[in-house]
């Protein structure tokens, strides 16, 4: 018999610390809490059809999670802090919704173009010139900043590229194995070429994004 008890609610600091400590109960609790809050409040921030809304939430939550893991927001003396360990000036949910707004803008701009990587300069000038809040989030560490830029670009890249790169680098599959999973590719060489093209685009975009954020 599996009776579920109501999940306990935590403070913002407890959530952040729990996720940082990889506490599975708190991680799940925060996810459900964020999902509920997002579904109740997203209409005040943007309008999107259900499938887009779900993508936005997934990317938003992932960004929040990674921000906590990378120490962009942390807990000091029981208070949630942001850059330079200054106390966060809003609640964790408000912080999440501001990430959601940015993710929404990224996705809608992506949908405006057929090939979002074609015009790199235009993309850098429009897509990633975000409000001043972004500068507060820019990590001091160069590596962390580049990693964050890569993560953000992965979130908005084409599903095809994301699938190829995930299979190859995250799941560590060989090209032969991938051919059976991606029937649209007829040869290893074609698959290899596609993979390298995706990498080249991602590298250029993430580099541009990183440089753009540094200027802010």
């Amino acid at each position: 018999m599996n009776i579920k008890l109501r999940l306990h609610e935590y403070s913002d600091a407890a959530f952040v610390q729990g996720v940082k400590n990889q506490d599975p109960v708190i991680q799940k609790c925060l996810y459900l809490h964020c999902k509920k809050y997002f579904s109740e409040h997203y209409r005040a921030v943007f309008f999107a059809p259900d499938d887009v809304r779900d993508d936005i939430f997934q990317n938003t939550y992932m960004a929040l999670w990674e921000n906590i893991e990378r120490g962009k927001i942390s807990v000091k003396d029981g208070v949630v802090t942001g850059k330079e360990e200054k106390p966060l000036t809003c609640s964790l949910m408000t912080y999440m919704m501001s990430i959601a707004e940015l993710k929404y803008k990224e996705i809608t701009r992506q949908n405006e173009r057929e090939d979002r990587f074609a015009d790199l300069e235009a993309r850098n000038s429009r897509l990633f010139r975000e409000p001043a809040e972004q500068s507060d989030w820019f990590p001091d560490d160069e590596r962390a900043g580049k990693l964050e830029a890569i993560s953000d670009c992965i979130a908005v890249m084409s599903e095809r590229c994301r699938q190829i790169l995930t299979l190859f680098y995250a799941e560590n599959k060989k090209l032969d194995e991938m051919l059976s999973l991606l029937p649209t590719f007829t040869s290893k060489d074609a698959l290899k070429t596609a993979k390298n093209k995706c990498m080249a685009k991602l590298r250029a975009t993430s580099k541009g994004l990183y440089e753009e954020r540094k200027k802010m």
Binding site: Q27, K28, L147, I150, S151
Partner: protein, 229 residues
């Protein structure tokens, strides 16, 4: 992006190189800045993709845990209701049993100060009895009441006679009235003492006498009789 360099990097991070080839690649890595940068980007990409994949899998797992099939959820709800109903039944039975076994303690007697002291100034002895009851010294109070009862019995032999003058008749009637009131007062106090000693039936008997008479406690006795009954 140099595809040949990328192929080397891919084989290196996937651990597909032999020991010697691996050593040569590491030497090249330390000497070639462009290779280093490309290698670093590949490592970060791999890290970002793995992190994303783990998170997505966890999020899917949580979604699956929350979105149980409707039948299973209904089953869980039924089980929960059964447990709640069982606990409620046990509580109700326990309370009923407790009330059945301990009936007299459930009666909330009206405050003695309010029910007794409003009619007439009472004698010193009655005040003493009242104080004993308020201090819950019921046995002592009952003892005192029993001894006082012998003294407060109305002497009917010394009642009104035809040969008496009006003044005398009035005086005797007044004295009898006072004695009756004293007797009722004692009975009222006795009811409280008996209830304190959990002698419910005797208390009810006394209350029945009081409510059937036209005394000062008739209405109060009737209310209390019904309450205890």
């Amino acid at each position: 992006m140099d595809e040949k360099k990328q192929e080397l990097i891919d084989r290196y991070i996937k651990d597909e190189m032999a020991a010697e080839e691996r050593r040569q690649f590491e030497k090249l890595l330390s000497e070639d800045a462009e290779l280093q940068e490309q290698y670093e980007f590949t490592r970060q990409l791999q890290e970002a993709l793995k992190s994303r994949m783990e998170k997505i899998n966890l999020m899917k797992q949580w979604e699956d845990e929350e979105a149980e099939p409707a039948v299973q959820k209904a089953g869980h709800r039924k089980t929960l209701w059964r447990i709640v109903a069982s606990v409620a039944a046990v509580v109700v039975i326990s309370v009923s049993l407790y009330m059945f076994i301990q009936p007299s303690t459930q009666v909330k007697m009206p405050s003695l100060n309010e029910s007794y002291g409003d009619v007439y100034r009472s004698s010193g002895e009655l005040s003493q009895v009242k104080n004993l009851i308020l201090e819950k010294r019921y046995a002592e109070a009952l003892q005192m009441i029993d001894s006082l009862e012998k003294w407060t019995q109305v002497d009917e032999k010394n009642g009104v006679k035809a040969t008496m003058s009006d003044e005398e008749r009035e005086r005797i009637q007044y004295e009898q009235e006072v004695e009756l009131q004293e007797a009722d007062r004692l009975k009222w106090l006795k009811v409280y003492a008996l209830m304190g000693l959990e002698r419910r039936e005797e208390a009810l008997q006394l209350l029945d006498e009081l409510r059937c008479s036209n005394g000062i406690y008739q209405r109060k006795a009737d209310s209390l009789y019904r309450l205890i009954k």
